[in-house]
Symmetry: C2
Subunit: 390 residues, 2 copies
């Protein structure tokens, strides 16, 4: 695959009580277009990732809404929903459309408005990403699901809460340097362990916050970039996606994310890279355990070693493979439908050399976006525009 | 475009209090695969159209759910939401994927479960397809929207309620012959006019019912069909899609569906056909006025003539262009996320020569699926397998 990223932008992540989804979505889209030096009338195809607009905003049909508010009604515009991987999957669909020649210019955006919905109703809404008949309806929501996964993982691989807590410590430190990050304060391992228990061993600080936010990315074909003089910021060179059973109970192991393993394998093969080639990664750390599993699925370390790998500093800035230099979901925030696109925004900055937590000589980057308890995952490999050429 | 339809199937449309979305969805998918003589493990890509599963079933992530329940977890699986055009757009995305060589075999399915949700909550849920900030939140739901459209149309083009009612009379008569149809009784013009007013001039019998149901279609590349000995039932030869403003108030005319006009133009051009080539059509008659506008957008008659064209019998079986031989949304029913796929199922039967209201020598067919008040529309042109060859 070879699809150019011409522009990328995120709104500030956090609380936006003054805004509605259409405003944040439009802001992110206009930001990405401005970054690309392009106008809305160049868009052939618009793809919006959103998980639960019907529940939080009484609003479906958000693909059309985005086209309408960009003044491009008439364009092909859809919404992709695949839980918390909605905009990772929208990004994949848009890359495929450009790669296949169906569109020269595709705008991918993601949005989620979460704060205006009360926490109980919101937790219930988020649980629609799980299996309603076997999980949600029995009272199992996502903190509980990841609590079960973490307990299983700690037992099987002899991992401590302290080791898992290092994910939060690292990501909160990275978040301090990221101006869009929801959290701007560091925390210690002790603070993570002593935070309010949510679903033991998961504490409040093992968990990502609820977040309002939007992100957008402009994709163009390399040919269009050449012809129109569009300067590409980075290039998408590999895409992989896979699925697993919807319910956790149907999997051979609670703490093995096979959809992510398959998605990573496919993306690496598509990009013709190995894990050793990757310089920086944004992964789906909705809970600390999720980042430990992500670095294993991406094959940065062996299975069962993800938490220890993190505690040893390998994924910190300056480590062998810096992960979530943005602050990740845990610090930057997790507006669920926007997260996949937000990862691409952050990695584009890394490959341009303009990230606030810049990885030196970053040339190859990977994004890992997960839906539900790991039932769906997309993995994308990006390269610096300077690498490989066209 | 040249993408083969290998199999197609719908569940019975109507009330399914004994079932959940996953059961109807799985039934439709297995039906389509059986019709194709294929097995789930041949699927490369799965696309599910669903509008409001979060509101009616507390269930998002339905792409994965379908893959899981077909025993194909691991496959690429997404949900497309674009209001009542969700599976029309999912079908378009799947056709594009096969045409582009991204997938050899794509399964497209649509589902909606509407009866278990009370009518007031359901009407509010459906209104999420409109503009929440300017329409739904002010009390304007879809019967009201189409009431406004019908009033504007009747005034501008001197059309009577009797002429619009002929849409229902024709479609209910067609529905009697369709075993999956929700309604199985004919009605008269007088009964439509005397039915309970919903949003005048729209009566209960000018409106489609609420419906549970699912439909699925198996798409294969012509090359895969040849190599694997898969017998195609029909061929998709053209796809067009377009959008309009989300809110009715922002359009130049209430009763002009420009998204549909553009989608039809693009689909006809893509298929290299003219309206005169079309032998049979399935259109989006959510209300009688919607079918009148559809036949105009598809250019079967002039603007403003759609209702008179219908009242003159031109769209009845035996007329110049039979429309909604299935019974349409008004008789067959309208499980909103399934409707786009259901239209393809019906037209596939027409092109095979096996439809209960068969159009003689039907060789070219068109499907027209609308989201919201016309904010999004997909149009697809299908040909009989015998026509044109490969």
């Amino acid at each position: 695959m070879r699809v150019s990223i011409a522009g990328a932008s995120s709104t500030k992540f956090g609380k936006h009580p003054e805004s509605s989804a259409r405003e944040l979505l439009t802001d992110a889209c206009l930001g990405a277009l401005e970054d690309a030096g392009m106008s809305p009338d160049e868009i052939d195809e618009l793809r919006v990732g959103n998980f639960m607009g019907e529940l939080t905003d009484d609003q479906g049909h958000m693909g059309v809404m985005a086209a309408d508010y960009l003044g491009t009604a008439g364009v092909s515009a859809t919404r992709t929903e695949i839980a918390c991987a909605s905009s990772g999957w929208a990004f994949r669909n848009a890359c495929t459309a450009v790669e296949a020649g169906v569109a020269d210019v595709a705008l991918v955006a993601g949005v989620e408005m979460m704060h205006a919905t009360g926490i109980q109703r919101l937790t219930d809404a988020l649980a629609d990403a799980a299996d309603n008949e076997y999980e949600n309806s029995c009272g199992l929501t996502f903190p509980g699901i990841f609590g079960l996964i973490a307990r299983d993982y700690m037992d099987e691989f002899d991992v401590t809460r302290e080791q898992l807590a290092e994910v939060t410590v690292k990501n909160r430190a990275n978040g301090v340097r990221n101006p869009i990050s929801q959290y701007q304060e560091e925390v210690t391992v002790e603070e993570v362990l002593e935070a309010r228990p949510i679903a033991p061993p998961v504490s409040l600080l093992d968990s990502c916050p609820i977040t309002d936010g939007a992100s957008a990315v402009v994709l163009v074909s390399p040919e269009y970039a050449d012809e129109e003089g569009v300067e590409a910021s980075a290039v998408v060179v590999g895409s992989g996606a896979s699925t697993d059973t919807l319910a956790l109970q149907d999997r051979a192991s609670l703490s093995r994310t096979t959809a992510a393993e398959r998605a990573a394998k496919r993306a690496y093969e598509n990009a013709d890279v190995t894990p050793d080639d990757i310089d920086v990664a944004e992964v789906h750390d909705c809970f600390t355990i999720a980042e430990a599993l992500a670095v294993e699925s991406l094959r940065f370390c062996e299975r069962g070693e993800g938490a220890r790998f993190t505690a040893e500093g390998e994924t910190a800035p300056g480590g062998s493979i810096p992960v979530n230099t943005s602050g990740g979901l845990i610090a930057k925030g997790h507006p669920v439908g926007a997260t996949g696109a937000a990862q691409i925004v952050e990695l584009t900055k890394q490959l341009e050399g303009s990230h606030p937590t810049q990885v030196e000589d970053a040339e190859v980057a990977v994004a890992h976006n997960v839906g539900g308890s790991g039932a769906s995952t997309t993995v994308h490999v990006l390269e610096a525009q300077s690498r490989g050429g066209s």
